[in-house]
Structures are given as structure tokens and as C-alpha cells.
Symmetry: C2
Subunit: 261 residues, 2 copies
Amino acid sequence: MSKINFTPAVPVLTYERVVEQIEEAILSGTLEPGQHLPSERELVVQFSVSRPTVREALRVLQSRGLIASRPGVRTGPEVLPLSGHALERSFSTLARVAALSLSDLVQFRIVLESSACRLAASLHTEEQLETMSSAVARMEAAVHDADLFNRADLDFHAAVWEASRNLLLQTSGQAVSSAILGLMNDRISVAPDPRGAMEESAASDRALFEAIAAGNSPAAGAHAQQAIADHFKQYLDDRGRKALHALATNEDSTEHSAPPA
Amino acid sequence: MSKINFTPAVPVLTYERVVEQIEEAILSGTLEPGQHLPSERELVVQFSVSRPTVREALRVLQSRGLIASRPGVRTGPEVLPLSGHALERSFSTLARVAALSLSDLVQFRIVLESSACRLAASLHTEEQLETMSSAVARMEAAVHDADLFNRADLDFHAAVWEASRNLLLQTSGQAVSSAILGLMNDRISVAPDPRGAMEESAASDRALFEAIAAGNSPAAGAHAQQAIADHFKQYLDDRGRKALHALATNEDSTEHSAPPA
DNA sequence: ACACGTTGGAAGGTCAGACCAGTGACAAAA
DNA sequence: TTTTGTCACTGGTCTGACCTTCCAACGTGT
């Protein structure tokens, strides 16, 4: 009556064991970002495997964004700081294959960013508020220069993400934003009315900033949702628009300060 | 004074070009899940590169969850259906390194799952409602059997994710849930009071189900948030608890139906 | 005619050894 | 001191080989 459950005796691939050991060393902090792995030939000796095996392992780690290697550098492959790069690629891949899901992607971003804004309103520091304030000011001053404007816009949103104090939310949000940008660039390239769009965008970011600064979480969340929905409305399908009502914080909370039409 | 700008003549790695071509074929649908790539030796001929190069490319695609290869099979590497596996790994990796972020992970799940419940309340189909209903009933009938109970619990949540009608939300949510489970297993293994916990869990899922069935999005979102916060309260840090108030739908919307204490 | 064991070839996994094109530190030359 | 050239070593790629595993076709025996 003993409940022994034998586990399948799956063969363990050699390169996988190399991956595991190196990954463990990186994730556990034994190898910190900026440090370097031994050279491939040295790893061959240490793991007692052949160079192709080591290289396959390094390729896998590379594709996971954990290391980077360049030919000629004498210090060996470098351990990278952990980034959302792999996460972003996963989002893009999923978005591309899941049929017609730019709408889903936008909806997802609304969920993430409005939550981040709620959190930011509640948890922000003075310093982060400074950063946001300066970024919004730079946006308003740069409606004539799309390049400067976009940079300030990115800075503002980055500050909001950071103020949410949730690294996972921050990384996922930025990854999904990048994924949206990437897919949009594949379909449409220019905005019809740059100047007007920038002014609208700056105004909505200003309103969002003030809600965050005031610590008004529901208003901040509502503003973020409205801003994203306006900005990407051409990409939302019927279901996406219907979903907005379900996501609205409460029956009428989006109306206590009308955003610019 | 001409403005010629030479672009950097970066070397393009051979295996990367192989990856790009195969990935493009898969993502564009030319190669569908279940189909097979040519064998490694055949790819060597088609790409005019050596076998190690082909193998490195295949390893990368494999680590991205796009293909799978087994020795001996005569049909070549198989194209896999796209899954959130890579996404889940990304979440787990991020969660593991971002210091002490089980709290962040739980917070993130609250954001995703409460949004999914809001959407599910608004967009569910009759069939999905059936599935949820049956799953909740099975949970209530299985408080004596942890195994059966957990399976029904998973079924219920899977149905909710599916009813959100957002594949990205669904995949991310399930990925983050799996990541939480994985990390919890590393830290603590048994619940102190299985029976009581199961009854509580069943009751809160029942309440959640009724809110969804009634199409009450705010209530569904609030129930989900409360349920997850209760279930993982031991993993939430101070900031996480404070954040709950910011995420609460509105000043008092969580109180119009008191969840079980 | 059917079922069953055998077997050969093809697949992926691994290895050893080699060459090339970069890199970077150091020494020689201006 | 600054520039230039050298050279050892790196990663990128290739060749060719061997092993184990798998599967399909074959040839048995019933």
C-alpha cells in the first residue's frame, strides 16, 4: 500500500546539465552581472565535455538573456544584468501568433499600466515625483520636436512604472509597451496629426501626473486607462471596447474629470 | 557636407540567420504546430552551413519553446504549438532574482486575476459558466481529498482565465500562478489546516463565481483580490499590504459583500 | 493471411581537431 | 609620448567521426 511513484527515467542531455550549473550560479548570485565566465575552452576542461556541447549551452543561456559573448574578448562571456528582454520577446511572440491580438495586447497594457498608476499614486517617493514632473514639463515644452517629445514621454512613463515599486509590474509593463510599439511599426508608421496628438498626449499625462501627485489612486488608474484607450483606439476591436467598461474602476468613476475628447 | 552615414558593418552570426528563417516560418504560419522540420543533416544542405551551426540554431529555437527534437525520430524536429512556457520561465527567473519579490509576484497576480475576473464577468459565455459551475461544485464535494480538490480548483481558475477572452492575460496569469507555486514549493510545503483552508477556498470561489455569473465586474474583481490576498497573506510584505488599498477598486467597493473572514 | 521478432538505416547527441577573424595587451618604432 | 606592429587567445565555423535511440521494412512462424 506504499505510494511510491517512480519518476520517468528521462535521459538528461549533457548540454542541459551545463546550462543548469551555469544558470544556477547566475541566479543564485554566485556570478554577478559584469563578471565573466571562463572561456569556452576553459569550460570544456571544467565540465569535461566537448566544445560543441559547451557552445550549445552558452547559446541557450544567451537566448535567455543571461550572458553575452563576443569573439576576441579575453575575459570570456559576460554575465548580463537581468532584464525583461526575454519577457519582451515572449510577449511579442505570443502577440504575433495569437490571432489578431493587438487588441489583446493593448487591453493587457491597460490592465498593467492603470494598476501601476494606482500603485504609484499610493507609493511614490518625492524623488520619483520630481522625475515625473520634469518629464511632463519637458513634454509640454517639446510639442514641436517629435524626437525630444517621445524621449520625455518615455521618461515619464518609466518613472511611473518605477514608482509602482513592483519590479515585475514594471518589467512586464515596459515589455508589453515595447511589444506594442514593435507590432505597430510593422503595420503603420506615421501619426496623422503629430502636433495635435502630442498636445493631447501631454495634457493627459499632465492630468495623470497630478492624480498621482495627489495620491488619488482611483483617479490615476482611470486616467491611465482613458489615455491608453484613446491613444490606441484604432487598434481596439469590439470586444476590446466592451472590455473597457468591465475594467473601469466603478460604474461612473471615469467621469469625475473628463479627459480631452 | 554630404550627410552620408555609414551604418556599422556588424557581423551577422550565421546561426542567427538560421534561427531567423526558421522562426519566421513558424511565426508566420508557414510551418504549423505538429509539422516537422527537415532533419539536421537536411538543414545543413538547405542552409549551406555546417551541422554545429544548425544545431546551435535548433537549440535556441528549442529554448524558446518553438520546436522539440528527439533522437531517432525519422521525421525531424517537431514544431510545437505556441505556449506560455517561455513566458512562465521568464517570470520565474525574474521573480527569483528580483530580491525577495514573492510579494511582488503575489501583487502581480492580484492585478492580473482581478482584471481577468472583471472581464470574465462581462464577457463570459454560457458554456464557460457551465464549466465554472461544475468546477466549483466539484470543489465543494471534494474537501476531503486534497488531490481532487486542487484539480477542481485549477479547472475553475482556468475557466475564469479563459472567460476573460484575452489570451495574453490568460497566459500571463497562468504563468505567474505557476511561478508562485514553484517558488512556494521551495520555501514551504504543507498547509497547516488543509480541511479548513479548502473549505474557505471553496467558499470564496463560490462567491467569485456568483459575481461573475451575475455579470458584476466590480464585485468579481474585488472577490478575486480578496481571495488571493487572504490565501497568500503570509507572503505579502508591508508594502504589499499597503498596495492592496491602492488597488481596491474604489474607496469602499470591497465591502458591499463581506468575504468570509 | 496475419502476427510477431529481427534488423538495418536514419535520426539526434557527442566528441576531437582544425582553421579563421576578431580583440587586446605589450613591445618596438616613430 | 604616441603610434604601429606583433602575437597570443578569444569566439565562430567547419569537417568528419562515433554512439545510442528509434522506426520502418523485412522475414520469419503460425
